[in-house]
Every structure is written in C-alpha cells, then in structure tokens.
C-alpha cells in the first residue's frame, strides 16, 4: 500500500512532486508492485482454502446501496438489479473463471455459418420456484417481449432478432435478419440474457407485473420478502437444479444509502459484503488493512469502467483538435490516480479497457501524457492566447453525480486547466438533471462521467462514437461530432463473424478515436469488493457480484 497516499510525507513539498516525474515513475512502480502483491494475495483465495469442505448454512448480509425500481433483470440491465435479481433468476449463459461463456440455463449452442441462426439447447429438469417447468417457451417469451422491447442495451443487441423458434421444450432457435457474431451474443447474454417465467407474465403489461417486485426464477435462492427502504430477503432453494447447492441458508440485502454508515455497519459486523465500490475510497483503503475483510478488484473484471472527458464540439474552441489534445496534455493523470484513487484505478489507454482479453488492442494507441509545456504550445498555436488575468477562455464542466471519484476528478481537472489559463466552472446536477443537460439539451462544454464496458465493445462502447444517435439517449455520441470512417469501422465490426478480424477492426477503431479524441478516457477502474474474510468461493468469475452465488459459503 502506498503510504505516501495515506499520510503524506511531511518533508515533501508539492513542487517536488510536480516536477520530479522520475521519482513519480519509480514510486508508481512501487505502488503497482505493492498493489500487485495485494492482488496476488487474493488472486486465488481458493488456493489457500482448497482443502476446506464447504460448510452448509449461514446468513449472508449484503450492502444494497441504491434501491432500484424493480428487481427483474430481464427488464433492467444494471448491477443494482443483478445484485439481487441475479440470485433468484438465471441467465442462459454466464462467464466462468476465465471469462469464457459457460452454460447455465442453456447447455450448448451452435451458430449457422451465415450467422443468422443461433440454436440453444436448454437444460432439462429445471423448474421455476413455483414448481412449473422451465421450457423454451419461457425463453421465447422473454426474448421477444422483454429483451427486445424493454431491456436497456438488450433492445439494441436484439434489434435484428425476428423470432425465436421452439420446436421442442429444450430447443430455442434465435433467428436474425443480419449476421449476429456468436461470441458477441455469448458475451452479452450473461448480462442481457436473464429469463422470466412466461406463465406469470403473459397477461397484462410486463412492466406493471407484481412479479417484478417479487421475482420468481430458477435460481439458487427463492424470493421471500421486500420491505421497501429496508431490506430484501431470499432463502435457499431446496429444489435447485445443481446438486449440492446452494450452501447458504439465506441472503439478506440491507438498504443503506450512506457510504460512511455502510462502512460503520461492516465494522460493527452487521454486513458481510459491500459490492461495486459501495464504500468510500478512504474506508476501502482502511478496511483493506483489517484482517476481518478482503478488499479486492478480483471478481469485477467484467465491470470495468473508464472515466471520461466528453467534449462538446458546438463550442468553437473544443471543435479544434489542438485544443482537445492540449486539454488532455494539461492534466497529470498518473499523479491524480496515485494521490486520489489509490490502488483502485490505473491509467487507461482508450475506450477498451485492459481487462478485455478478447479485444484490448494494447497500449500502442495514440496517448496524451502529461506535458504542460506542450499543452500551452498547442493552445497558443490554435490561436487562444492568454488575455486579461491569464485567461484564454472559460468552460463549464458538468460532472455526473455518481461516484466519489468523478467528484475528485472534476476538481482536479478544474485545478489543472486553470493552470494553463482555462478557468472551469463546475455545474452540479442530480442524476436526472445531468443526463438531460448533457445528452438531451447539450448544455455543457465538458462533461465527465463513467463509461461502462460490458465485455464487448458493441454493447455499450461504440455508441459513444457512432453517429446518428437520437437526441436524449444517454451515454451516446451527443458531442456534435461524427466521422464516417469511424462509423464504418464500428458497423463492420458489429457484424463481423470471424473473431480475429473483429478484434483487428476494434483495434482500428481505438486508433481512430484516440487520434480524433471526441471523448477522452484516461482512467480505467474496476469496481472494488469489500467482503467478510470468512466468505469462500467469492470473486471467482469476472462478474461475480452479479452471478447467482450458488457456490458461495461462509466458514465458521
């Protein structure tokens, strides 16, 4: 752990740090080494405990930080729903420890050579929690009426899905108008492939169905109770289709909106697990040193995100590429990461994070390292010389209101840019207001938030760059910029079936957008898990927080 970050060296002044980049590099390496050491410690907690036999029983208490409007993952794709709904309902396919697709409700699959037909063979003998059998009719219903119609990102993914044929109870054939790369679908289904019971949803509006707040699924835990504003309870499913699972008796999700209060409850022994960076950076760093807890990014590699700087091209200054590059060069990202984000973030290299083994093009794409002199030179060259009081022009920065890191980042951006003569006014908004102002009204100069990478660039990444996005669609290209070359690369990659060619196309994409820089994504983060050290079989897949926890158990 980099103690420099925690306490501050009394004898080092700010000037030293800013100028001495070599020392920074060395210490950053040291920080990475120590964090790697910590990571290695928990890389495979199972290795140390492989000899133990799972203990049956126990209650696992989870920190539920932001209450959602409903609990059905077939209708809403977000970690806030999976943390509960993912234990009760199951997906067709999930990710295994290496991040490769593994069948859950589906046993096997195959794609036709033209990529327009994908057949899933479903597992036999699975029943819903109310006793009715799980069949391909449920898959057909969910795909056509929920994934395609209402599921965020699901509707884009299944845009060209025309029908799901069900020749028998164990077969579901997905028919597409345009070729669907099999590995894209398989990578998307863990998040976008949860199945709901047709017999409960077939009459009436699926969104108004009471089962959305009392879900019925096939998963290892059965829904018991939801006290709005307080807790959700689910009990062990004795008829679960996997033998000898689950181990836990009960899971309780406690609603705690205040992060400091959640940390207090963890320390008081009232919580076992806080998912998805649910505590403050400072508390997470502190609990990392407490033997009772394990603090790790393992198990969240599938939920990588990048911090963004979004440029509004409608501002004349920002439409000039030299200005955008100057802004990037003016910000000392490694310094920010080391001093403000601790071990929980690293330098990003573009829209595809390094955790994406299938698509990460490597660090050799256009980058913009900290270089204040270069920033000043570019701004001068673009014709924006400092005027009265050293100001060249001022900008309004809209930060998204979620995440402590965004708030720290926006302050740091403000401080850094004021040093090159660009004063920044930070404009605060709440969630709905932020989305409206940035993605609908375009009432911003700079915006910063999170870009969530969902295992495949085609799901929620390329929309940040593809032109033609409808006004008001959040987390899409609303910058007033478009590039037909980039559009073509994106479209080709979305329908390319050959995985090797696809990866190359996305590498091309990253190169193009890093050169043009309509959005800068300089920081890469993975969510952090804080969990009771007694937990076993945790963090064993890249999206562990969202999986069904059928193998989770608590030691004595």
């Amino acid at each position: 752990m980099d103690s420099r970050w925690l306490n501050g060296c009394p004898d080092t002044t700010f000037g030293d740090v800013h100028m001495d980049l070599t020392r920074l590099e060395i210490s950053r390496r040291a920080a990475l080494l120590t964090s790697a050491a910590i990571a290695a410690n928990v890389v495979n907690p199972m290795r140390a405990f492989a000899q133990e036999t799972p203990r049956k029983g126990g209650v696992f208490t989870v920190h539920y930080g932001a209450e959602q409007r409903q609990l059905n993952p077939s209708l809403q794709a977000s970690t806030g729903v999976y943390i509960i709904g993912g234990k009760i309902q199951e997906n067709l396919v999930d990710l295994d420890a290496e991040g490769k697709p593994v069948g859950v409700l589906a046993e096997s699959w195959e794609a036709s050579p033209d990529g327009k037909t994908i057949t899933f063979r479903l597992r036999k003998g699975i029943t819903w929690h109310d006793g009715k059998p799980f069949t391909s009719a449920d898959v057909e219903f969910t795909a056509m009426n929920m994934w395609k119609k209402f599921l965020n990102y699901g509707s884009t993914l299944q845009l060209f899905l025309t029908a799901v044929d069900t020749p028998d109870a164990q077969t579901a054939i997905f028919r597409y108008e345009r070729p669907m790369p099999l590995n894209l679908l398989l990578r998307a289904l863990p998040d976008l492939g949860y199945v709901s019971p047709k017999h409960l949803y077939e009459s009436g509006d699926v969104r108004q169905n009471p089962a959305n707040l009392a879900p019925v699924g096939t998963g290892p835990f059965k829904f018991v109770k939801y006290e709005r504003g307080q807790y959700v309870i689910a009990d062990r499913n004795p008829d679960y289709w996997r033998s000898n699972a689950p181990y836990l008796d009960r899971i309780v999700w406690r609603v705690i909106t205040d992060r400091a209060a959640a940390a207090a409850q963890m320390e008081a022994g009232e919580l076992d697990y806080s998912p998805f960076s649910g505590l403050t950076i400072s508390d997470m760093a502190r609990l990392a040193k407490d033997k009772r807890f394990v603090v790790t990014t393992k198990g969240n590699e599938g939920n990588a995100r990048t911090n963004t700087i979004e440029f509004n091209f409608r501002r004349k200054e920002l439409s000039d590429i030299r200005v955008r590059r100057a802004i990037a060069h003016a910000i000392n990202v490694p310094f920010f990461i080391d001093n403000f984000l601790g071990d929980f973030a690293k330098l990003g290299t573009g829209p595809i994070p390094s955790t994406s083994t299938d698509f990460y093009p490597g660090p050799d794409t256009p980058q913009y390292p900290y270089d204040k002199a270069k920033a000043v030179a570019l701004l001068d060259e673009a014709g924006y010389k400092p005027g009265a009081g050293g100001t060249r022009f001022s900008l309004r920065l809209l930060p998204a209101p979620w995440g402590e890191d965004i708030s720290l980042w926006s302050t740091f951006v403000q401080q850094s840019l004021s040093e090159v003569g660009i004063p920044i006014e930070i404009v605060r908004n709440d969630g709905g207001g932020f989305l409206k102002q940035v993605y609908d009204d375009h009432a911003f100069d700079l915006a910063t938030g999170w870009h969530q990478y969902r295992n495949d660039p085609a799901i929620s990444t390329t929309v940040w760059y593809r032109s033609g996005q409808p006004k008001g669609a959040p987390w899409t290209n609303q910058w007033g910029w478009e590039d037909p070359k980039v559009d073509k690369t994106i479209d080709d990659a979305a329908t390319e079936i050959d995985p090797v060619k696809r990866k190359a196309l996305y590498a091309e994409f990253v190169k193009e957008v890093n050169t043009e820089l309509p959005v800068w994504m300089p920081i890469e983060q993975i969510f952090v898990t804080v969990i009771n050290a007694k937990a076993r079989n945790h963090s064993n897949t890249p999206r562990w927080g969202s999986t069904s926890w059928y193998d989770l158990w608590l030691s004595a």
Partner: protein, 276 residues
C-alpha cells in the same frame, strides 16, 4: 447609551461579539493572507493538521489548503447567513406585523400564504428550488432566505396579537396616532426582542441549511464554503475526520457568536431587565 452598557455587562454577550469580530476579520483578511485561489491544488491530499508547517490545518481530499478554505469560507457563510437572514426577516416581519395588527381578512390572507410556505417542509422546498434553479451561490442564498421567512412572520404576528390591545397602544390610539405610526413606532420595538433573538436563530439555520445542502452535494462547488468542505470530508470521516471537523467547528463558532450577540441584544434592549 444605556443599552450598550447593559450589553457589556454580560460576559457571554461580549465574548460572542469578540468571536463574531474574529470571524469577520477572517473574512476580510482572507485574500491578504492567502492570495492564491483557495480551491487550487496546494499540496498532497489528506495531510494532517500540524504535521506540515505549510499547511497548519492540513489539506483536504482534493489537495487544497484547509486553512485557506476556512478563511475564505468565512466570507461565504457570513454572506449566505447575512443576506438570507435579511431576506427572511424583512419579509417575515412585514407579513407578521400587518397580519397581527389588523386581524380580520388581511390576517387570514397573509396567514394562508404563510401557511402555504410552512406546510411545505422548508428543506424539501429548498431541495426542489435547488433542483430547479441550480446550485449556484446566488440561487442557494435566495432559496435559503425564501424558505426561512414563515417562522419570523408567525412569531411577529404572535407578538402583535399580544401587544395590540395593550394599554400603551390604546393610549396611542386615543392620542390620535395613525396605524403605521403605531405599528412601526410603538408596537414593533416591543415586539422585536424575541424576533431579534430569532433572527440569530434564522442566521444560524441559514448557515446550517447550506451545510446540509453541501452534505448532500447540492451546493455551489466553485466557492470555498465551509459546507462544501464538510461534504467533501464526509468521504473520509472515519480516519481524516478533521476535514469535516474543522469547518464544523468554524460553523459552530460563527453560529455561537451570532447567537450570543443576539441574546445579548435581547437582554440589552429589554427594558424590563433593568436593575437585574
């Protein structure tokens, strides 16, 4: 003057005045002691107070000098406190005086309006106003003033209801004094003591409302205010509690000063305390 002598007789009131003057002095001297932008990056984040002579009160989680923010924050708090209180008192006293004195339909109408503002919990109205009009310093100040006037109105009205039938008022009427003269010249000075004490309450509430907004991250992030610092310190409350504690103490001291002064004024202006 008699009142000043009476004021000075109370050690608490004098202490309060001194404390208030210190806060005002901090506000005035801020740009002289800390010529740089208090929100600029000054050093490594989360340096402890008294550990580095450059940062006597340490740095916050954005690497900014806490002492500088405390000095500049005095300006913002006094500004918000003063302006919002002025707005609230002005509206409230006028509404309450006329309602209490005249009674009847004027009272009914004014009280319905007051009730309208009061039935909406003031913090909720504040949240709605900030959600609608934004989180800049101006909107926050006006919003705080706008949600604070009903209490003063009610208090003033209660005093007026009590006083308007008193002997000295009746005497004034007999002497032929006009309503306005009676309201402003005779009754108001007697009605004011609880209002003055309450004005200090309003000012304290105004400062605390702004800090609550900052706690919920809804205040203006572009100025160095104590509330913003408390909100920032919320994320490091357990270990680096000083980031929230120091501005909290500053707020406490200012509110204390304002209240002691208000109390001292009440005791000084209250003629019936003569001789105690």
């Amino acid at each position: 003057m008699d009142a000043i002598k009476r004021y000075c007789r109370s050690p608490a009131a004098v202490a309060g005045l001194i404390l208030l003057l210190i806060v005002i002095a901090m506000a005035i001297s801020a740009s002289w002691l800390y010529p740089h932008d208090p929100l600029a990056l000054a050093g490594r984040p989360l340096i402890w107070p008294f550990s580095n002579p450059r940062f006597p009160l340490g740095t916050d989680n954005s690497g900014r000098d806490i002492a500088a923010q405390v000095f500049y924050g005095a300006r913002i708090s006094l500004l918000i406190g003063g302006v919002a209180t002025a707005i609230a008192i002005a509206i409230g006293v006028l509404v309450g005086a006329f309602a209490g004195y005249y009674g009847g339909p004027i009272d009914t109408i004014l009280m319905r309006i007051t009730e309208a503002f009061q039935t909406l919990p003031n913090f909720l109205l504040l949240l709605v106003l900030v959600a609608v009009f934004g989180s800049t310093l101006t909107t926050v100040t006006i919003a705080v003033g706008v949600v604070s006037w009903p209490a003063t109105a009610r208090l003033t009205r209660a005093e007026f209801l009590s006083l308007r039938n008193r002997e000295f008022v009746q005497a004034g009427r007999t002497l032929g004094m006009r309503d306005i003269q009676l309201i402003l010249g005779e009754i108001l000075p007697n009605a004011l003591p609880p209002v003055i004490v309450y004005a200090s309450v309003v000012m304290a509430v105004a400062i605390l409302l702004e800090s609550a907004l900052a706690f919920l991250r809804l205040s203006d992030p572009n100025v160095a205010s104590w509330g913003n610092l408390i909100g920032l310190g919320r994320d490091v409350l357990r270990v680096q509690w000083y980031v929230s504690a120091i501005p909290g103490v500053a707020i406490l001291a200012t509110v204390l000063a304002v209240s002691l002064v208000g109390q001292g004024l009440n005791d000084a202006l209250n003629p019936r305390l003569k001789g105690r």
